[in-house]
Symmetry: C2
């Protein structure tokens, strides 16, 4: 069933540089792995790798699992120390700074920086988050919001880890509502400095990764005040600790202490008491202060500037989506591998006891989950590629950028919801063994949990998606704007739905073909699935627009928005479901290996039917599905689970996490006898 | 809105002894509490207290919160020490041993022992589980499976904590399948001893609470072998540690280490190498060895004896249901109280920022959850009362016992599923603050998690429920028996459904009244809700029976069972949904205060409609609900949330957890300024 380890047969794609920037030795080595994979498992990895597949292969082949997984028994101080050490190792391994400018030692490849982030998530999410804060959020803010001087000054010590950076956005009083942050950056013309200050208890920065112990420098969000006038939120680089770890003058640092997970991340609080930094520390790409002490910006409107600056969060959200998707894949890999060796209850007329995965109920837990995990891989790949494509464009396409921001926000919400549900399901599917930290699931669950609320709370993000849809990506966004949402809807709405899908000729062709058939023929028909998803989205969005439009003249636009909030969230979710399905369908189309494609098609059908079944109430209530068909969908899901069951091992191999990276004691050969009733001592 | 603290106005009900057995001082004090409650909140507590309400009031009034809550920052060794100390304090507080015989210092009140367990869950679940293992499982096994000598010998040192007990049932190789445990209890006639032995690696006991550090003595499940003949699983009391904590000769003890929660519980492994104990250590109420060395039992069949012995697990399952229900109530209390002080985003035309609980989406998360939490309170009360009623009956009613076992198994599965989903939802509803351990939700989540798989894995338990239903409680059960389930279905099935509901005249009357009305009138009609729940259950169960009956002659009864496993689980769930709704309706009926009753009726409607909405796909596919009605249900849920919103504080007060027991830093007054943007320093 398995092939012996061989140098991988697929060569890096020519358009992708898989060399590791900071490690010439690693780059010189072709990807090789000790992992024993089935042919199908390896082919599934290849089919799901996308543009950055070779980067993933290289990491799997060259990074020792031992450097990427953490002993779950470490205390919080030990876990923090391990994580900081591991962060340094990422640099040696070349998994850091890919998104930085070439001049500062990076690759100027923001897509690859997402993949680097994702690969750390194959190992340990504390490391993922810590590197995300340091390289992605702090380094990313300097890169995206700063200018050349900032790059030259602040990025090299980040890439060398001489300095640890943190990202001081959230305050006790405001998290989702970034525009209302209370921290002030007041320009003092007399000394040509910016005074950073926390004016209220609620303006203390909190949950800031690396603030409790490691960080030397912070990208601090606050209201920029120049000559008494506020210009909205801007970012200033502020030293918060000296090299010996002592707080900088005027800076008070606190420790958020134990959390629901991420024991290796030292989240903390930062309070500023009139802390002075030179004017040059203002990241002034979109708005700054000139030598005469006047505020200057190429963007006239404060709102538009704010949304442009927040638009730089897009990478972080794709990263979080990729990290959460990886966490789901890890959990599914652990639970499925366990279900392939764990037996319980004798079956009348069968030899021995029954493997967990041979129970229909167990299949129904794990196999649709695996199908969704595949769907998310293709969706993450699509956004990662798109991010880099737009980055490479010489002129910015604003609508394309908005669309990407919308989908990144939505995919982050969808994958993190799925990961929290799925890791818990996998934990329970492993019984008592799943509850032991040594088996990998509980740490993963605790670590991934916060992904649902950081980098944008999921509920808020889904509202942003709806706002993007209602405005046809023509409006700036990045914040929850209740009045704006109602107003968008009041304008002529329509057109953009078709426009957004027209970009996929394959999807259009399949859907049209299905429309010509009757219901009886089409249960497995991809066109029918695509039509169902698109039709659901269209109907939800159009009725939402109508509903909001009817209330557009209400004096109370909060009430108008709020009364439809469940509808708003449904619109966003159905849009993302369609996006994910179309990404899956497009990804499968690109697969040339017939056997692999057949498996992927089956997974895609299972994903589509599971989603239709989960919304069976909606589809029937809106006359999109008959009672008979609703029952047939469930029967078909059971059939698909049975058909995919024999390939379960290959399917989880295809999810891309090598077994040693799963960090699960119960999957190791030396403990196998425990799970084999009657095996001799 | 709140009344000042006064001695509570409701006196203990005369039929319940609220005195604390081991603390005369506490018993002499009338319940008094420092808690400031609204009138409605207090009245809701009274209405949901049931027979043991006064016991709960006394604990809330007399037990200091500080003795019941644990610092979430404690390391695992510190948490274990805290828990062991707290266990001792339970004895001083009289919250221990209520279920023990009066002669051994107990109250012979098994219902009250469940409530004692539940009250510890108001504070800390490690303490709950540790006390559950020591008093409930170990003490309960000795009480229920032992005879007078065992009670006199083994119970006093448990109640004095001179000995700590543990419950050694689960092995690496077998958890759910208790009948297949591999540990052997072999009678050696030559020395009149029983030899306890672990013959295989998979027979090592694992996940055993208190085994890693504290336990001196274990109730060990194993196959009893007398004169070469096996008589199935029996329990033997085995010393495993001496008073200095050294393992007994032949006993090897291991530590399960860090877990997903319950840091205070020292779960571990036990391996026996030919450990000898006197014959008297066999708990022989249902089967033993006489002085001539012959196996003797009043119960002829090994299977029936096994099921009778496992029937003693019923209390543990009610306890776990109560504990999980309490954990849900804690989480909902924390998240709702936070949502009543946390604001985010300005609303156009409104002063200040919007309270989280004023968002429809937030209401839709929390308020239906609160409604379900109320439903579960009434259901837990009903089973607790029933447990004690049956315990007090001079002759045992076997069918009633089976029914109780069925419902206990089912309610455990339903409440633990709900608690895992709900605690996570509440964590996310509190954003970053919810992720900090100091705010109480993440520890609760990790601790409650395992309730879904211990004391019976939920999937297995739901199958037991289906088995009970198919056999009309006329067959013994306690184990998953696939052949049996198919065979029950093959016999004449019917009758018991009506029989089981006929016991509730109120329910019958309401349902009949609804049947005479049209769909238009009945959206808020309790009779319609009851009819929908009953009809769903009846249809699912009848079609399941038909389906299994059709396969009854299959040679492969595993395949026959397995192909319908999703249907089996649905039958169990729909049965439990009906039971919970009927318990809720019956509980509301008993409430005499009109204002309180109105609130409870609204919660009951919200619970019923939420369940109907969650199954909207099924109801429509089976022609039980029109498309229009499916949409109307959602609109009505939104309306009910809006109607209940102004009473949110009162509703969570009614959930019964005093604020200091929530152990949530963010709810304390001294941190309030953090959550109030713009408040002065």
């Amino acid at each position: 069933m398995t092939t012996s380890a061989q140098p991988q047969t697929h060569t890096p794609q020519p358009d992708t540089d898989v060399s590791m920037p900071a490690s010439a030795d690693a780059a010189a080595t072709r990807p090789q792995s000790d992992e024993e994979l089935t042919d199908l498992g390896e082919a599934l990895r290849r089919a799901t790798g996308g543009r950055y597949g070779p980067v993933r292969d290289l990491a799997r082949a060259t990074v020792p699992a031992s450097t990427m997984v953490r002993d779950p028994e470490l205390t919080m101080p030990e876990a923090r120390e391990w994580t900081t050490d591991a962060l340094r190792r990422l640099i040696e391994l070349g998994m850091a700074g890919s998104g930085f400018p070439v001049a500062q030692g990076g690759l100027d490849d923001v897509g690859r920086s997402c993949v680097d982030f994702e690969m750390t998530a194959h190992g340990d999410l504390s490391l993922t988050v810590k590197s995300g804060v340091h390289f992605g959020l702090y380094g990313g803010a300097v890169t995206a919001l700063g200018t050349q001087w900032h790059h030259e000054t602040f990025l090299p010590p980040i890439l060398s880890m001489e300095q640890v950076g943190c990202y001081a956005m959230t305050e006790f009083g405001h998290g989702s509502d970034v525009a209302s942050l209370e921290t002030t950056h007041t320009y003092d013309a007399a000394t040509d400095e910016i005074v950073v200050h926390s004016p209220t208890p609620s303006s203390t920065k909190t949950y800031i990764g690396a603030a409790a112990h490691d960080a030397h420098v912070a990208a601090v969000y606050g209201q920029l005040v120049v000559d008494g006038e506020s210009h909205g939120v801007h970012v200033v680089v502020v030293p918060i600790r000296d090299e010996d770890g002592r707080p900088a003058p005027g800076v008070t640092l606190g420790d958020n202490g134990a959390k629901g997970g991420l024991a290796g991340v030292d989240n903390g609080t930062i309070t500023f008491d009139q802390v002075r930094v030179p004017r040059s520390h203002l990241l002034n790409r979109y708005g700054g202060i000139d030598d005469e002490g006047r505020y200057v910006s190429d963007i006239d409107s404060d709102g538009k500037r704010f949304f442009t600056m927040l638009g730089t969060l897009v990478r972080g959200r794709i990263c979080v989506a990729a990290g959460a998707a990886t966490a789901s894949r890890k959990a599914l890999s652990i639970a499925t591998r366990y279900a392939l060796r764990r037996r319980q209850f004798s079956a009348p007329g069968h030899d021995g006891e029954v493997l967990l995965l041979d129970y229909l109920a167990h299949q129904r837990k794990l196999i649709p989950g695996i199908a969704t995990a595949y769907a998310h891989m293709f969706a993450v790949n699509e956004l990662t590629d798109r991010l880099q494509e737009l980055h490479e464009m010489p002129t910015k396409d604003q609508e394309a950028q908005r669309e990407l921001e919308t989908r990144a926000a939505g995919l982050k919400a969808v994958t993190t919801r799925f990961s929290n549900d799925t890791i818990q399901m996998c934990r329970e599917a492993c019984g008592g063994a799943g509850y032991l930290a040594e088996n990998g699931l509980t740490t993963l669950r605790g670590d991934a949990d916060v992904f649902a609320t950081f980098e944008g709370d999921n509920t808020v993000l889904l509202q942003l998606v709806a706002k993007g849809l209602l405005s046809g990506y023509k409006e700036m966004w990045g914040d929850l704007d209740m009045r704006g949402m109602v107003q968008f809807a009041a304008r002529a709405f329509g057109g953009q739905f078709v426009e957004a899908t027209a970009a996929r000729p394959l999807v259009e062709r399949l859907r049209s073909a299905a429309a010509r058939k009757g219901e009886d023929d089409t249960l497995l028909d991809r066109g029918w699935h695509l039509a169902m998803f698109a039709d659901r989205e269209r109907h939800v969005l159009e009725t939402l627009a109508t509903r909001l439009r009817r209330r557009a003249d209400d004096r109370d636009s909060f009430e108008a928005f709020n009364s439809a909030q469940d509808h708003v969230l449904l619109a966003a979710r159905t849009h993302m479901d369609r996006f994910v399905l179309e990404a899956f369908v497009t990804g499968v189309e690109a697969c040339e290996d017939e056997q692999v494609r057949e498996v992927l098609e089956r997974l895609c059908t299972l994903y589509a039917l599971s989603s239709i079944d989960a919304d069976a109430g909606w589809f029937q209530a809106h006359n999109r599905m008959s009672a008979g068909r609703a029952k047939a969908v469930i029967a078909q899901i059971n059939t698909l689970c049975a058909e995919l069951r024999p390939q379960a091992l290959e399917l989880v191999e295809g999810l891309g996490i090598p077994e040693p990276w799963l960090n699960s004691q119960m999957l190791r050969d030396e403990t196998a006898a425990r799970w084999t009733p009657g095996a001799p001592v």
